[in-house]
Symmetry: C2
Subunit: 231 residues, 2 copies
């Protein structure tokens, strides 16, 4: 019941399962234009509410701009560490983590959301306004998977001030930064996520994330087969 | 510079480019448990801020629940059509579109965001609160691509009231519905998105979505090679 060959299906799952949020292991090597094109084109073919395609991709190599973003990261990281004042062990663990590769990666990409694109009436965005920004997130995940298949690592830097980003990149008031990504070839893709490996948090059992018919219902007997499959 | 074989890479791109938002063409055939498991497990391996994995998947087959959701869709669709009062042609075009497959699809899946998961301190969510819900969107895109590779169509119904969903599915106050999806095997995946095919909106040129170094800069000569590639 699928038009995918075995290796084609495996390729998708390989990208999904071996994709990592990369903060270190970047190597000094430019991403060729054709590779970067394929990665951006994959993002551009994400689903979007009402086919509004509300994304932009700002590609950043300039060192001055990157340093501004890095400074924003440093301030926000310090603020975050202070929030853990009451949990000394956790705080120490946090402080040791490498959380971004802004300066070491080959390229930074800021992905933004423009709610005015093809608007003001956007089909399907009339009840839930947020579906516009959700479309941009789907594009980011496409970008991330395509990069993985091309051997390019991606790290999402979320410890940042959006106001700082808006200033550094001349983003107009009506446009919202959604993600700040660091892209580059890497020495390796780690077998497990960094935060799982260092014991920050475990991977949750899928069975706990799945509910049947209503929120909070985890073991109805009508769904026994699937429960056995997800366990 | 990649550890993906040709067919593996092609498989990922095939899923990305041939994925559709499916509203019709659903056929009467259950999704086997092992297939559904792979689709959900793909979603569960999305990136998440601070490895918080803040998603849940509520699987819905019950006809009464679906009818409640369909009623919500009908109300919101009517409201949306009224918004186009001043644009009669557009309004007529909208009214003819098939926008959901709630009752005809094999399975409905509501994907939710739980901000309390592994909280209250979530690493990386301390500066930009929205990164939590962005993680859930990445999981939705993984689900969508995995479904495509399995031959299963997915339609995202965004013309809905979240309050109605919360009532119909017993979703607690602290949890936010993010997407309501219709899943099922389909007769075909259309070669182009429905809204592009019927002329609702065109696909934007990728070149217009890409900026260089700053917002709004589209043709700096330092980036000539990439500009030629994205054109």
């Amino acid at each position: 019941m699928t038009d995918f060959t075995g290796p084609e299906k495996e390729g998708l799952y390989k990208a999904i399962f071996s994709r990592r949020d990369v903060r270190s292991h970047f190597i000094q090597k430019d991403i060729p234009d054709d590779v970067l094109f394929r990665i951006l084109n994959a993002a551009h073919h994400a689903p979007s509410v009402g086919f509004s395609q509300p994304w932009n991709f700002i590609l950043i190599k300039d060192e001055g701009t990157r340093q501004q973003v890095k400074d924003s990261f440093a301030r926000e990281r310090d603020r975050s560490i202070k929030m853990l004042e009451g949990e000394k062990e956790r705080q120490g663990q946090y402080a040791k983590l490498k959380l971004e590769g802004i300066l070491e990666s080959a390229l930074n990409v800021c992905v933004t959301y423009d709610p005015t694109r093809f608007g003001p009436f956007v089909l399907g965005r009339t009840s839930i306004e947020d579906t516009g920004v959700y479309s941009v997130c789907c594009a980011i995940q496409n970008l991330w998977l395509a990069a993985r298949a091309e051997g390019v690592g991606v790290g999402w830097v979320s410890i940042l001030s959006n106001e700082d980003l808006e200033k550094a990149l001349d983003i107009p008031a009506h446009v919202k930064p959604v993600a700040y990504l660091c892209l580059g070839y890497v020495e390796e893709f780690a077998p497990r996520p960094d935060l799982e490996r260092v014991g920050w948090l475990p991977r949750m059992d899928l069975a706990k994330a799945v509910c049947y018919e209503k929120w909070g219902t985890h073991q109805p007997k009508e769904w026994k087969g699937l429960q056995d499959a997800v366990r």
